[in-house]
């Protein structure tokens, strides 16, 4: 057990108290460690935490070092977290144009993370060489793992139907097409039948009460098709997740605070370290309390990284660590109550 610094405040005391209780717990014994329930959104009540960094869109450093510096800042943020996160999740789009030097740079920077890394594919990583370099660096794009009683699934949800062959596109032309958020030549994102079948099988052993977290780059619902804030087979994927009472989807790609709920499935969108996207002109879920318009004169505004607090029952809070603003917590209570309780603060300016 790590010794917490000896501060006399309530939070430090409770941390040590819960750590002591956990240390004495014996599986199957009569003694049950008392879980100290703090106020909503407080860290101490969580079963564990993981950090997230997403959508860094790295260029080669000679061309543009702004995004590399932003990713370095995020790595420093995560390494400085106290308590340390159990692992760090990377939400996709590490590279901007999927080039080897961009992915290699990203891999080198992420090596500086002290906590273990779990990484996911984004479309910017994939469509230059169809994932060849990414898989060489990071392994399989689709996988699952268990951590402290929660089942985690990582999907490649940016599968696009072939639009490039009949147009005779080069790999770079294909990548540039996909890299354009508003480029209508590309196809909508999908998870695809093979992965859906894999997902069905992977989730079969789990009971309906089992806590489940699905990591996906595309949102796994349909927000705005023009910008591929969209998963074309979202309904089919949601149908597979429907039976779980505590399923959460955490997605990248949208570079903004996004909150949604469909039935029992909670959806949280992650921040980008590189730049914020505007909110779509239509389709933004009602539960989302939109960030106010980022300051164009500050290249950090609207960007950041964050943490996810997973409660003992498997539901989670997402903390948005915005670099130019106070952090925002979107809690499980807010989502469970359909927006009635524990709402995040509403900004005093419009999102435009």
């Amino acid at each position: 057990m790590r010794a917490a610094p000896d501060r006399s405040d309530r939070r430090a005391f409770l941390k040590r108290a819960s750590a002591a209780a956990a240390a004495t717990a014996v599986p199957g014994a009569l003694f049950t460690p008392v879980r100290i329930a703090l106020g909503a959104g407080e860290a101490g009540g969580a079963a564990f935490r993981f950090a997230y960094i997403s959508d860094s869109h790295l260029y080669g450093r000679d061309l543009n070092d702004r995004f590399a510096r932003a990713l370095l800042r995020a790595v420093d943020d995560v390494n400085a977290l106290d308590p340390k996160p159990d692992f760090v999740f990377y939400g996709g789009d590490l590279a901007q144009l999927g080039q080897e030097h961009e992915l290699d740079l990203g891999a080198r920077i992420l090596e500086r993370l002290k906590a273990p890394l779990r990484i996911m594919v984004g479309e910017h990583d994939w469509y230059l060489d169809m994932g060849a370099r990414w898989q060489k660096l990071f392994g399989k794009p689709t996988y699952s793992f268990d951590h402290k009683g929660v089942h985690f699934v990582v999907l490649n949800s940016v599968i696009e139907a072939d639009f490039w062959t009949r147009r005779g596109m080069t790999p770079m032309e294909r990548m540039l097409t996909v890299a354009g958020l508003d480029n209508g030549v590309q196809s909508p994102f999908t998870v695809g039948a093979p992965q859906r079948e894999w997902l069905q099988k992977d989730l079969e052993p789990l009971s309906d009460e089992a806590p489940l977290v699905v990591f996906s780059h595309s949102p796994l619902y349909k927000l705005y098709k023009n910008w591929n804030f969209w998963t074309d087979d979202a309904e089919e994927v949601q149908a597979i997740l429907k039976r779980f009472r505590k399923a959460t989807v955490i997605h990248g790609h949208t570079h903004q605070l996004l909150t949604h709920r469909i039935g029992n499935i909670h959806f949280h969108g992650l921040l980008s370290t590189a730049w914020p996207w505007p909110y779509a002109p239509q389709g933004v879920p009602e539960l989302t309390i939109q960030m106010s318009r980022p300051d164009p004169f500050n290249s950090n505004d609207g960007c950041g990284d964050g943490e996810v607090c997973v409660h003992a029952d498997g539901r989670l809070d997402t903390i948005y660590n915005l670099w130019n603003r106070n952090p925002i917590t979107v809690s499980r209570r807010y989502l469970d109550s359909g927006g009635a309780e524990d709402a995040p603060p509403k900004p005093n300016r419009a999102s435009y």
Partner: protein, 205 residues
């Protein structure tokens, strides 16, 4: 004699038309004398299609290609100007369909070129591989209807073009464009076009 001459002349005339048809390659445009004339537009379109097929590298495809990539708001519909007795006897108001076509096509060309510049770090003159669409997909969040407005960070009242130039100099890392630079005109055209229908509200922050 008269009748024979007539017949000969008619035959000669038909032969001339046929010969002309062969020379011009209009094998399908064979009319017997006395047929109603075909729509001249349809004939012109058919000729142009033939020429395009024979000269593919001289056909301007960039407008259609850019429109395939990026959704562009169409210009206003002016067909009301062709209706009624408007402009009769007054040359200024006396528009034809060709006028409307020309206005629409030329305006659209500038807007579509603006889309090309907007989406290209190279054409913007940027040096760090950043283009406008990376923060402003489909020109979202450019809100041109709010200019002119006082911009603290610039210390003066900014027009849309001043903000465009700020972005070109800073995140795009290029050189500021002159007001009459064809790229600046095209960018303004595209940004304004994408905001079609939004009420003007200068000074809004």
């Amino acid at each position: 004699m008269h009748r024979d001459l007539k017949k000969t002349l008619a035959a000669l005339g038909a032969a001339c038309v046929a010969a002309a048809a062969v020379l011009l390659g209009c094998s399908q445009d064979s009319r017997a004398p006395g047929d109603a004339p075909k729509d001249p537009r349809a004939i012109a379109d058919a000729h142009l299609a033939q020429w395009k097929a024979k000269n593919p590298d001289r056909v301007d495809r960039w407008v259609d290609e850019e429109k395939e990539r990026h959704a562009i708001q169409p210009p206003a519909d002016n067909s009301a100007l062709l209706q009624g007795g408007q402009g009769k006897g007054h040359p200024y108001g006396n528009y034809s369909e060709l006028d409307l076509l020309k206005w629409a096509r030329e305006t659209e060309k500038l807007v579509v070129d603006g889309s090309r510049v907007f989406h290209s770090a190279e054409r913007l003159g940027g040096t760090v591989g950043v283009s406008c669409d990376m923060c402003h997909p489909d020109a979202a969040n450019t809100h041109p209807e709010t200019y002119p407005k006082f911009q603290n960070q610039m210390g003066r009242v900014a027009l849309l073009r001043d903000m465009i130039n700020w972005c070109i100099e800073h995140p795009v890392r290029g050189k500021a464009l002159a007001a009459d630079d064809e790229r600046m005109r095209a960018l303004e055209a595209y940004i304004l076009a994408q905001r079609k229908g939004v009420p003007m509200n200068y000074g809004k922050h």
